[in-house]
Every structure is written in C-alpha cells, then in structure tokens.
C-alpha cells in the first residue's frame, strides 16, 4: 500500500504578529505602533471603548450617531474636509459602531500619515456637532436603519436581543431604536460625546509603513495637549438571571421562514471562552476571531460543520450557522437557520435541537477537534497581512481585552480537549433560558 505524504497542519504564523511598541500619554491616551518598513501604506485606527453599551433608553443609537458626526466638522476640518483630506491622496476612511466600542480608521499611502493623525487629534475631543448638522444627519441615520429593516434577519436579531436582555444595554442594536432616532436632541448628543469621547477611553493604533521614532514623536506632539477626558465606560447594571424560555414570533415580507435561537454566553475574558469558541467552530464551521480568508469577515458555510451537515445537506435549510461574538460583558451564543422550501419552522427547530443534544451527549469527535483547531491555526496564520488588517486586529483585541490576549487565547484554544467542549455545550445549551425568535413571511413569493 502506498503511504500518502501527510500534509503538516499549520502550526506557525505565516505572517507573524508584528512587533508592537506601546506607550501611554499623560492624558491617558494609549498608543500602539506596529511599523512595517516594506508596507506601501499606513493605517491609523482610533478605538473608543464607547458603544451602545453606554447608552440608555431615550438616547439609544447615540454612539452610532456620534460616529457619523465625527465626519461632519471639527475646528481644523469643517464639514466635508475630513473626507477630502484623506480621499484626495488616495486614502480610504470609515468607521463602525458596536455594542462595546466605536472604531475610526484611515489608510493612506505611507507618505501621508500626518493627515489622519491631524484629523484624529482634532476630532477626538473637539468635534462640533452643530444643531444644523445633527439634524441633517438624523434622516441619514433613519435611512441606514431602514435599509437594515428591509432584511428579516436584522429584525429577528433585534428581537432576540430585546427578549434576552431586560436591563443590560445589549438589549438594543447599535443603530438605536427608531423612536430614539426621532427624538434625540443635538444637546443630548453633544453631552454624550463630551462625556465619553476623550483620551482616557481612546486607543490609537498605527500600523504599516512609517518610522517608529518619528511617528512616536509626532503622536506626542499632536495628542499630548489634549485634555484628559472620558468618563468611566463600565456598565454597572448586570443582566439578572433569566428564568424560562422566551419566544418571539415576527412576520413580514419575505420568501422563506427564518429562525434564531440564542443562549446566554460568557464575556470574552471568561475562562469558558475557549471552549465556547470550539462549540461555535464545530457547529458553525469557523469562529469569528480566527476565521480564514483574505477578508475580515467570516468565510461561508463549512461543509464539515455539524449544522451544515444536519440541516443544509439534508435539505431542511438553505443556510444554517452558529455565532458567538466576543463581548466585554456576557452576551449570546446564537444559531440561525433559513428553512428550505416546504420545511416548517417547527421541523427546523426540532432538527437544531437534535444537533445540539448530540453535541451535549457525545461531544465532538477527535477528527472534529483536529479540524476545528486546524481552522483556528489557519485563521491566525495569515491574520496580519496588510496595514489595515493589522491595525484592525491589534486594536480589536486591545479594546476588548488587552494586547496580549490574542496569543493567550490562541494557545488556550489549541489546548481545549473534547471533553471540555462537551461539558461546555451541556452548560451552554442545558439552561432553560434560551430565546427563540421565528420569522414567518406573509406575502406570496414575488413573480419570477
């Protein structure tokens, strides 16, 4: 018998995690510098530990609205000037808001690094948020929300979180509630900005082609004079324990039934996180923090994932996956599935329960563990190619936990044993606190 040459599993980083220099200014601003002399670009990221977790009913969506307003004028950059300054040199810029943080980034050809540094130092504490621009942006934010509402998945997810959380601010989506977008005043928005956005809650990450010493000096020159501001962003009202299942039924336009099931899951820094991520990988195919491919997102369905095999391959669903999102506070582990034509949500829900029960009963196979851990190695191996991805990844781990957390988590993931995954699945799915939201399309299928 011929012996096939074994392909070694990826055990090392192909693109090494860059060497990072870090320091903190007297005003509290934390800085991470990751130079790569060969990079043709430089990427500047500012991460604020401010997100929808810092809002309350009445001002939900404020963090996202501030995100928009930070492009709409500051002392040295009147409306439109930020876009113009970055784009005119061929750069790209954007921002995004999450429950736990807000991130702003600009990637520019390396000779133009001073532009985003100047912008960020100007708008970190001195954005204008004029009445006029806040009002103008209100309809833009409405429009962004409306675009999302067109999708049943958005509406279902929003309902899942509203049912799962009664106290904690994870209850609402970062886009904010429709009625709060209607009523939030410019004064309230300015007050929110001045309270939370400042050096104490900010993390500046610079990656790519730059000289370490010169750039560190430039950062000190531009940011040291900013006042030490930024109120405590910790959320001190934890969600109380839930009792019993919570269910929701939605209906609306669409073509096929869809459902999400959710269970309470631990915060990122919980010792149970590595095993939870393995549960996610075995059920859904990949885990968000270590996913494969050239982009930032999670790859498509993985054929060896249990949900795919049990639901998609068998014709019960056209899509099925799981998701665990890293959160500062305890969040949710979800399973989502879109029914195949003619399959009821009752049947789909039962099939998901069977998948979950099997994992709880028998745990993963040795082959599944090898496959899952190989995928995690692969996700880590190429994570740092390019200045933008480097800035994103360094900042993401640092803002959610710490700079050293990625390596720590990676090692823990590779050390998880099948029994721990089984025990974790039992703990996760065994509770009575699950949330189920089902979406039934109302109208007939549109004409073909």
């Amino acid at each position: 018998m011929r012996v096939r040459a074994a392909l070694p599993e990826m055990a090392r980083r192909v693109v090494p995690r860059p060497k990072v220099d870090s320091f903190r200014l007297a005003n509290g601003l934390r800085v991470l510098l990751a130079p790569n002399p060969e990079s043709p670009t430089a990427s500047v990221w500012v991460w604020y530990r401010v997100g929808s977790k810092n809002e309350h009913p009445g001002i939900t969506g404020a963090s996202h609205w501030v995100e928009h307003m930070l492009f709409e004028g500051s002392p040295r950059y009147p409306k439109g000037a930020i876009d113009r300054a970055v784009v005119q040199v061929g750069g790209e810029l954007n921002a995004f808001t999450d429950t736990d943080f807000t991130a702003y980034f600009s990637t520019v050809p390396r000779d133009h690094l001073s532009i985003p540094l100047d912008i960020e130092s100007d708008r970190m504490t001195r954005a204008l948020l004029t009445d006029r621009e806040v009002e103008r942006e209100r309809t833009v934010i409405h429009s962004e929300r409306e675009g999302n509402e067109n999708w049943p998945e958005f509406r279902v997810e929003e309902e899942v979180y509203q049912l799962a959380f009664r106290i904690h601010p994870y209850r609402w989506d970062a886009l904010g509630r429709r009625e709060d977008i209607e009523r939030l005043t410019p004064e309230e928005l300015r007050s929110y900005y001045h309270k939370f956005y400042g050096t104490r809650n900010a993390l500046l990450v610079i990656s790519g082609g730059f000289d370490l010493r010169n750039t560190a000096a430039e950062v000190r020159r531009r940011f040291s004079s900013l006042p030490a501001t930024g109120a405590d962003v910790a959320v001190d009202h934890p969600e109380p324990a839930a009792h019993g299942e919570r269910r929701g039924e939605l209906s609306g336009p669409g073509t096929t039934p869809y459902l999400q099931m959710a269970w309470r899951s631990p915060a990122l820094d919980d010792p149970l996180t590595p095993a939870t991520m393995l549960v996610d990988t075995i059920l859904g195919g990949e885990t968000r923090l270590f996913s494969a491919g050239p982009g930032w997102g999670r790859a498509g369905e993985h054929p060896s994932a249990r949900l795919c095999r049990a639901l998609v391959e068998t014709g019960l669903a056209v899509r099925a996956t799981s998701e665990w999102r890293p959160r500062v506070y305890p969040g949710l582990f979800t399973i989502q599935a879109q029914a195949a034509r003619g399959v009821t949500l009752d049947r789909l829900e039962s099939a998901i329960e069977v998948v979950v029960e099997r994992l709880c009963r028998s745990g993963p196979t040795a082959q599944e563990m090898r496959d899952a851990q190989t995928r995690i190695r692969r996700g880590a191996a190429l994570a740092y190619e390019g200045a933008s991805r480097t800035g994103f990844r360094l900042g993401y781990f640092a803002v959610l936990h710490s700079s050293s957390f990625e390596d720590q988590l990676f090692q823990q993931l590779l050390a998880v044993r099948p029994r721990e995954v089984r025990d974790r699945a039992r703990q996760l799915f065994g509770s009575e606190t699950r949330v189920v939201v089902r979406y039934e399309p109302t109208g007939g299928a549109p004409d073909e």
């Binding site: 599993e9 750069g91 209100r138 067109n150 050239p294 899509r319 190429l382």
Partner: protein, 423 residues
C-alpha cells in the same frame, strides 16, 4: 518572462492548450499568493432555456474535485491554510485559490483539480440548486436586488448576457441535471480563451512550468462564441414596483454604456468617479447625503466589460424621501454629460484615484484584482504603471465628451422599488 518584482507590472506567457498565463509579483511584505483560472464560462453561454447552468457549474467546482469529496477538499484546504472560491458573471467564471506562499504548489494542485476534475456529485447539485433558487427568491423580495434586476431587464433586450443576473428561474434550475453541467464544463473550461493569473513570489519559469504540468489535461479547444444583441433601447422608461412592508425605497437611474475596449474608457471612468464612483467626494454623495441628508447610500457605477457595459446612479431612501432623490440623480447625470467639470474638482478626483493604487498593494488579494483586470481585458503589461499618466492627460472637455457618450440620459431608465404606497 523575467522575475520582476513590481506588482504593478505583469508578465504574459503561453500556457498549455492555448491558455494565457499572467504573472504578477506580490506586494513587498506579502506572505501569501493568489491564483485564478478565468474561463469563458459566464451565463452568457447558458444554453437556451437552461438559465442557471453557468452559475450552478461554477458553484459546484468547490464542492469536491479529483479524489477529494466536498468535506475532504475543505479539510485539505484547512490544513494548507488556503481558500478556494468561484465567481460567475455574465462573461466568465473565475476560480480562485489563495493561501500561504509556501503552500503554492499544493494549492495550485487544488485549483487544477477544481478546474479540470470537478466531481459534480448529485447530492451537491441538489444542495446548490436549492440554495440558488432560494437566493433568487430572496433577491426578488429585496428592494435593492430587485431594482438592479428590473434595471437590467429594461436596459438590455432578452437574449443579451446582461439582461439577467444569471440564476435562471425556478423551472430552468429545477430541470438541470448532472449531465447538463458536465457538458457545459467540458465546453467552457478550456485552454483557448482561458486565462491563468497568479500573484506569486514564484519565479516566472517555475510558475509556467507548474501550470504546464498541472493543467496538462486542459482541453485544447476554443469555447463556443456567443452572439450579443444590440443593447440600445429606443425610448427611455420608468419602472415602479411597490413592495409593501419594506422600509426603504431603492432608486436606480441607468442605461447601456461603452465596453472596456472603448477608447473613451479612461475619460468615462473619471467622469463616473466625479459623479458617484469616488463615493465620499462625489457629486451624488455630496448632494444626496452630505448636503441633502436624504439617503444613507448614494453613488454611481460604470461597468465596462467585454460584451458591452452599463451605468447606474443609485440611492436608497425612506418612503417619504425617495421622490426628492429621483430628480437629483437625473440632474447630476445630466450635469456630468452636459457641463464641463471644473478643473479643481477633476484634479481632486483624478489624484485620489491615482493615489489609491498604493492601497491596492496592501495585500496579495487586493493586488491580484489589478492583475485580473489587466489579464481579462488584454491590457499592456505596464498598464497600471502608465495609468496615472493616462488619467492626467485628460482635459475637462475630453471627460465631458466621454460622459456624454457613456451616460446616455436620453435613453436612460428610472427604476424605483420598495414601499411606494407609503410615500
């Protein structure tokens, strides 16, 4: 072929069975490679009454090939750290492998298997068929995708490759059998008319040798040609489609345009960037979103391909705002083709587009897109090196004239899809 290191400069070579090879050096700090086979296998070549053939065939290439079934293939890719993906458009199907540079030989073998030896297992066909039908239905129910579809149907006559989005309909997709896909694959995944594009640190000599070895079984024949009917509609049209229960109306204003080979392409490209392509600085974004506060997204797009092209100005707005957006889109398209662009505005956009080339060199996968563009359109090896000078040579008058031809407002179609009754 030499071993140049500038990723903006590609090199051409001859591959097996008449296939062209294009090599691009990777960006300086990249540790990955990317390689794509481009086959003349787009949905333009779908047999009559068999819509969806090209898309199903393309999707099944990643579902098992050679001696590996779907799961074994995925597992092998995981262990090599690579990904395998396909993309089907009206004219071609791309099959792309990406991964660590030190796994190039292995992953090129996977690519060759996917292109030459797909398994087309019936269970996989059934799964992909279900997913395609469902995706098509979802798109019909979504204002954005539905608006695109209605626009294409209006601009291009039946039988034109751009008339559809390639998924066929439930009937045609349901009828397809394994043998249909096998026959389509045999006819269209061939050497002559095919391309192999690699962004890789491999030497040119090694790459060419590897491609000849791995693709030695590539059929030595030319893919069948396709007749493309004229795309010019005689009158402008308006299409309104009420989709109650949605929250946002999608607006499209567009028409047929020039192919990529048109000598006016560079000037038309710049005109589109001013109009809405260079999103944040563009006229549409500025007027509709920044100043008007009427929509979250507002942009334009010029798609210039081999068989033809189209342009579209687009936005998504609430049920109470879309009526204000429609005339804005029309006015801005008219202005770009009737009035000269001020030099300061043109220079700003031009330099931004030239500057962004550096951003395409951030990673192998980004740089690879540049090489694919050169290869597919048969552009000179130094196209991206000379592109800045080409753009800088264009005067405002040349750009306006090109816009007049590329954005033909007299024959344009307006499409609005969404909760129209709520407005």
């Amino acid at each position: 072929m030499s071993n140049r290191t500038d990723p903006l400069r590609v090199e051409y070579a001859e591959g097996p069975a008449g296939m062209r090879i294009v090599r691009q050096p990777p960006p300086p700090s990249a540790a990955t490679f990317s390689a794509t086979y481009v086959g003349p296998a787009g949905w333009a070549y779908d047999p009559a009454g068999a819509g969806g053939t090209a898309r199903l065939t393309g999707q099944l290439l990643t579902s098992g090939a050679g001696r590996r079934n779907r799961i074994e293939l995925a597992r092998y890719l995981d262990r090599a750290g690579g990904t395998l993906s396909t993309q089907c458009d009206p004219e071609s199907t791309d099959v792309t492998v990406w991964g660590p540079a030190d796994q190039t030989e292995r992953l090129l073998g996977v690519l060759a298997d996917a292109v030459l030896r797909p398994r087309f297992e019936v269970a996989d066909l059934d799964r992909v068929r279900r997913q395609l039908i469902e995706r098509q239905l979802r798109e019909l129910a979504q204002p954005g995708a539905r608006a695109d579809r209605e626009l294409f149907r209006s601009i291009f006559p039946a039988g034109h490759p751009y008339h559809t989005t390639g998924g066929g309909d439930r009937r045609s997709v349901t009828r397809l059998r394994r043998g249909d896909l096998v026959r389509f694959h045999a006819r269209h995944f061939v050497g002559d008319g095919g391309l192999f594009v690699a962004t890789t640190p491999m030497s040119s000599r090694s790459l060419v040798a590897a491609v000849h070895r791995m693709f030695a079984d590539l059929p030595d024949r030319r893919a069948p040609s396709v007749a493309v009917p004229s795309a010019s509609p005689s009158t402008k049209r308006e299409v309104s489609l009420d989709l109650p229960g949605r929250t946002q109306v999608e607006v499209r204003f567009g028409g047929a345009s020039i192919p990529r080979a048109d000598p006016g392409y560079a000037a038309s490209y710049l005109a589109n960037e001013v109009l809405g392509g260079a999103t944040l600085l563009s006229r549409l974004f500025t007027r509709v979103r920044s100043k008007g506060g009427l929509a979250y997204h507002a942009s334009s797009h010029l798609e210039a391909m081999r068989f033809g092209g189209y342009w579209v100005a687009q936005a998504g707005a609430g049920a109470d705002r879309w009526k204000k957006v429609v005339p804005m889109l029309r006015q801005e398209v008219r202005r770009i083709s009737e009035s000269p662009i001020p030099s300061t505005e043109l220079d700003l956009i031009r330099e931004s587009r030239i500057g962004e080339i550096a951003l395409a060199l951030e990673s192998t996968s980004d740089a690879h897109e540049l090489a694919l563009d050169v290869a597919y359109h048969g552009l000179p090896e130094d196209h991206w090196v000379t592109w800045p000078a080409s753009l800088r040579s264009l005067s405002p008058t040349e750009v306006r004239r090109a816009a007049e031809r590329a954005f033909d407002v007299r024959h344009a179609t307006t499409v609005v899809v969404g909760p129209l009754g709520r407005g």
